[in-house]
Subunit: 263 residues, 2 copies
DNA sequence: TTTCGCCATCAACATAGGTTATAGTAGGGT
DNA sequence: ACCCTACTATAACCTATGTTGATGGCGAAA
């Protein structure tokens, strides 16, 4: 159920290579940071030179568990992951969605215990940096420290928008909003957003994301499809018309703080 | 509609006093930071010595608006406030609740524009520190910098728990959960939690907090009351039995990271 | 003391979304 | 080429919460 080899587009799933051979994935992390924070060439080189190992994980495997004390900072370089919490009665809620380039756990640098579960959504490739190494870099390089904080703050801002989504939007708007967000977030590190590829979540996972049931997600997708906002390719959902989606979702990307730098 | 004088328990609502006369409110902020982060006497003194002004604001007044560029770090020393976002169709969602001792806007130190509205819930007394002054302190004193980040992370953790609340708990559990949270958060800076005082929110505001309607909040309060979990004093709601509430809410305080220090 | 306005209360009805259960279908593994 | 399993689809029915609108009472201000 964990750590086999390959099986992602970049076909790069090896183990424990502490080297910097080919592009091992840190580049997309760097691109992500640069999308919201400026870094000197020197800082950029420092990031690319971090000692790290590479790890491949299968869909649904746990990357971090509630209550853990993590000693490691995993970075998602291929595939998707999510943070998730559950109710005692078994209700499951996805509370954050992580895409390629995202760091998965800055929090453990500052706080002792992990307060949620972190799971692979698809097959994922992780770059794993030891926490002390990361802390050293942050302590040495203020611009990187700042970028880390900005990253944390943007995730928090996304969380606030999700609260608005869950609290005050109906199923159709919620789903549309999620698709818009995913599209624009993908554009921060790549040239295409959701256009070319299928939405990476199954209907059950969409339900857990949006506080709905799979049955109702199914109904809602069909409504979106009949609108032309979304297209189906077999089981997959693909972007139909982003402008329709934005309208349905009441979407504005300011909460993503794209290309932001502080005063 | 703003800045008149006094009208809060500490009766301390003046303007622009850059002095450190009587206890002006920074002490409760310090206590809040100490509740999750250790600080040397020296660091503590530095915080208490920050140049600041004091500001009183009436209920419902805006402390910060979406789109603003803030130059100031307001600290809530008496009263309650909340962050709020709205849908174009007029749906209003409270996305964070701030209590005495909380800093209201660390975010503006790192990111250009404010992505939500910050409003006074009750009459409030604010201590206002100029952002450059705060930045200077954070740049000089690593322990304070770390405390600020921990504070940001705890707010984010609370946001995740609220997502679980909105997405996967019914009205009764949601309300119970909120009351539990408020109780324990108040205990971080004071000796009594919610025991002695009324819940500071009106039913409409509870509705905006919990993604419900005022009518349904009313129904739910009555159910809680018949359980004995909550008591009424006139219009006010007061804690009845915290253990019942915890049970109804499926509450555990680990997400609040009380008394936490990182490795 | 009276007035006035804001809140809380309550009831009757409406609906978005939940539940359960039964097919159907794609696609990987053999 | 086949099977198996996991996902999707759909229908019928159910319920938590929303909506609207009428009533009543507390508390601030005059």
């Amino acid at each position: 159920m964990s750590s086999s080899v390959d099986r992602t587009n970049n076909g790069q799933g090896n183990q424990r290579m502490t080297a910097k051979s080919a592009p091992p994935g840190l580049d997309i992390f760097l691109r992500k940071l640069l999308s919201h924070s400026p870094l000197t060439d020197d800082d950029q080189a420092a990031i690319m030179a971090m000692p790290h190992s590479v790890r491949h994980m299968e869909p649904n495997s746990y990357i971090l568990r509630e209550g853990d004390r993590s000693g490691v900072c995993p970075i998602l370089c291929a595939g998707f992951a999510y943070r998730q919490k559950s109710t005692q009665e078994g209700g499951r809620q996805i509370v954050a969605l992580k895409i390629p380039g995202d760091a998965l756990d800055f929090q453990s640098m500052y706080v002792r215990t992990v307060d949620h579960n972190l799971q692979a959504l698809t097959a994922v490739d992780l770059v794993i940096v030891a926490l002390p190494d990361f802390e050293k870099m942050v302590a040495t390089r203020p611009a990187i420290a700042r970028a880390v904080i900005v990253d944390i703050l943007i995730e928090a801002s996304i969380g606030r928008e999700w609260l608005l989504n869950l609290g005050r939007r109906n199923a159709l708007s919620r789903l549309s909003h999620l698709l818009c967000e995913l599209h624009y977030r993908l554009l921060d590190t790549r040239s295409e957003g959701l256009d070319a590829r299928d939405v990476p979540m199954k209907q059950e996972q969409l339900a857990d994301l949006l506080g709905l049931t799979p049955v109702h997600i199914n109904r809602t997708i069909k409504k979106l499809e009949s609108n032309g906002a979304v297209a189906r390719h077999g089981r997959g959902i693909r972007l139909g018309d982003i402008e329709s989606l934005r309208r349905l979702a009441d979407f504005s990307d300011t909460y993503l703080h794209r290309n932001n730098r502080a005063g």
